[in-house]
Symmetry: C2
Subunit: 328 residues, 2 copies
C-alpha cells in the first residue's frame, strides 16, 4: 500500500503503532498531540517539529521570504500554544537549492526573528543542507507554564466546544494568493493575504486556557472540522457543531458570501485554538480575555471521532470537505 | 550572490550574523556548535536538528529504509555526543512522496528505533508531510551529564589533538555503495558499507571526555581536516596534524591502499570524535576507555582556522580536499 492511498492520518497511526511496540520511555503524551511533553526537573517540557515544503505548503511566486520565515516559526509556536505552553528556543533546518539568493535567506531569517522577538524565543541553532527545493523544518522547545498541558485526548461528553477569534481568513487569503478570487477591495485583499502568510500563534490564549482548567485543545491547522475530528478520535467522543454559530471572519463573509462558511469550517491554517471544557470554565475564560471566544457546539457520547454538523433547526448538514489530507 | 557561490560555511556565518543582531536570549552556545545548549532548572539542556535529503545525503538505490532510519537518528545522536551529552527524546519530521510504500516507512522507523532503544532515546513525536522526495529532519533533545559541555570554541594552543576509533571506513563504504570501487573481499565490502550506512554515535566517549575535563570537541561529519578547521576557526587557533599518525581504518588501508589516507583525512561521516586537551588529560582518557584514542597533532598559535598537514619529516603536505562543502 502506498502512502497516498493510506492518507496522512492513517500513516501517523501506523507510525504510532511501530513506535508504540517499543515504548516511548518518559514521554507523557507522545506522538499524536501537537507537541511532545515530558517532565524534567519538576516542570513539563514541550517540543514540536514542523516542516514546510516549497510548492506543497508555500509557493515562492506568491510568498515573500520574510513572510515565509514568520510562518515557518508561527506554525510551531501555534503547536506550543495548543499545549498551553510557553516557547523558549527554536532550531531551524533549512534545505535549499544552491541557486537560492543569500539575500533571500537573510530575509527568511529576518521574518522568523520578527516573530521570535515578539514572543522572546531564541533561535538557538540549526543546520543548512542542499536540496532540490526549499524545505524549512523548525523544532521549538518550550515549557508548560503550570503543572498541566492541554491535550487532544481530554475532551469529555458534556463539554462545550469553543474557538478563539474568527475563522476562514487564512483560506480566503490562499484563494486570493492563488488567483482563484480577486476581491475588488484592496484592503480586504491585503488583510486576508496576511492572515494566510503571517498567522499569529495564540500563545497568551493557550496559557490562559491551561491556567483556567481547560484540559482539551488543538490548534486549527487542518480546518475546524478536521481538527475537531482529531480531538474526538483521541478522546473517543463525538461532537455536534452548530454551523450558524461558527465565527466566520466578517471580511470573509463580505467577500466570499455563500462560500464563507465552508472556508471557516474546512479551510484550515487559521491557527486559532479549538478547545473543550465545562460551560462554566468557558464562561470564566470569556470574562478574562479580550480575545473573541465563541461556543460552537458540544462534545457528545456519540460515535467516537464523529463530528456532526447541524443547521439552525438542528438538522444534520454535510460539510463539503473535512479538513485536509495532506497526501490527497 | 547565490548560496552555491558563497558556500555552506559562509552561509552559516551570514545566518549567525542576522540572528546575532537580535540576540539569542538564554542560549549559552548558540549557532555554530554541534547542538544548542542552555541552562534549565540547574542542568544544561541540549538540542540538535539535522536533515537528510534524498539524492543529496542518501540514495534509495543503495540504501535500505531501515539503515536510513538508523543513520538519520545517528547523525543527531553524534551531535549530542560531540557536546558530551546524553540524548533523551527525538522528534521526527518526514517529508515524503505519496507513492512511498507504507511498509518502507515502517522499516524506516524500525531502523530508527533499533538505535533509539540502544541509547534509551524516546521517539516523542513528529510530523509527516508530502514532498517531491524523501527528506528526514530529526531533532534530538538531550542533557549534559555534568556541569559542562564540549565546545568547538574551547581549543587552546598547546592542546594535543586526538580522535576516537579509526577513520576512512565511511567514505570507503560510500565508494563501494556508489560502485566506484568493488573490493574482491565480500566481508570487507559488507563491513565498509555498514560503516557508511549505520554509523555508531560515540555517546559514551563524549560523556567520558566531558567528565575528564576535555573542553573542545566536534564529531567528524565533514571530514577530519574540515571539522578540525571548524574547531580552529571557532577557537581562533591553528593546528598541525601529522598525516602518518592519523588512525586509518586497517580495512581501508588494505582495500584502498594509497587512497586510504586521503579517505581518512577528508572522507567524512565517520562520526568519530575529534577533541583537544592537555596531554595529561588525554593520557587519563586513554587509561579509562577501551576505545582507541590516537593523538594526531597539536593546537598552535598559528593563523586562526588554519590546519597544517605534516609528513613524517615535519614537511608541510597539501591535502587533496578539505572536508566537504555541501553546496559545491
Amino acid at each position: 500500500m502506498k502512502v497516498k492511498d493510506l492518507g496522512e492520518f492513517k500513516l501517523i497511526e501506523v507510525i504510532e503503532h511501530v513506535i508504540g511496540k517499543h515504548g516511548t520511555g518518559a514521554i507523557q503524551l507522545g506522538i499524536g498531540d501537537d507537541a511532545a511533553a515530558w517532565r524534567s526537573n519538576g516542570s513539563i517540557e514541550l517540543c514540536t517539529i514542523d516542516t514546510l515544503v516549497q510548492d506543497i505548503h508555500f509557493n515562492l511566486g506568491n510568498t515573500g521570504y520574510a513572510d515565509l520565515g514568520w510562518k515557518a516559526l508561527a506554525v510551531n509556536l501555534s503547536d506550543i500554544a495548543a499545549m498551553g505552553g510557553m516557547p523558549l528556543h527554536a532550531l531551524v533546518s533549512l534545505s535549499l537549492p544552491g541557486y537560492t539568493e543569500v539575500d533571500d535567506i537573510k530575509k527568511l531569517y529576518e521574518g522568523m526573528l520578527k516573530l521570535a522577538r515578539k514572543y522572546d524565543v531564541a533561535i538557538a541553532g540549526g543546520d543548512v543542507v542542499r536540496a532540490p527545493q526549499l524545505t524549512i523544518s523548525i523544532s521549538v522547545i518550550g515549557r508548560a507554564t503550570g503543572d498541566t498541558v492541554l491535550k487532544r485526548s481530554a475532551a469529555a461528553a458534556g463539554d462545550h466546544i469553543a474557538v478563539t477569534g474568527t475563522l476562514g481568513a487564512s483560506a480566503a487569503g490562499l484563494q486570493i494568493l492563488t488567483g482563484k478570487l480577486a476581491p475588488p477591495d484592496g484592503e480586504a485583499i491585503s488583510t486576508l493575504r496576511m492572515a494566510h502568510l503571517t498567522p499569529e500563534p495564540r500563545l497568551a490564549e493557550g496559557q490562559l486556557l491551561a491556567k483556567n482548567g481547560v484540559k482539551a485543545a488543538i490548534d486549527i491547522s487542518d480546518g475546524l472540522l478536521g481538527d475537531l475530528g482529531h480531538i474526538c478520535t483521541s478522546s473517543a467522543v463525538g461532537a455536534e457543531i452548530y454551523a450558524g454559530n461558527v465565527p466566520v471572519n466578517p471580511l470573509v463573509s463580505t467577500v466570499f458570501k455563500e462560500d464563507a462558511v465552508r472556508l471557516a469550517l474546512s479551510g484550515g491554517e487559521d491557527y486559532e485554538l479549538l478547545f473543550c471544557a465545562a460551560p462554566q470554565v468557558i464562561g470564566v475564560i470569556k470574562n478574562t480575555t479580550d480575545t473573541q471566544i465563541t461556543v460552537i457546539g458540544s462534545i457528545t457520547d456519540g460515535h467516537p471521532g464523529e463530528v456532526i454538523l447541524l443547521d439552525a433547526d438542528g438538522n444534520k448538514i454535510k460539510p463539503d470537505e473535512k479538513g485536509w489530507n495532506h497526501f490527497s
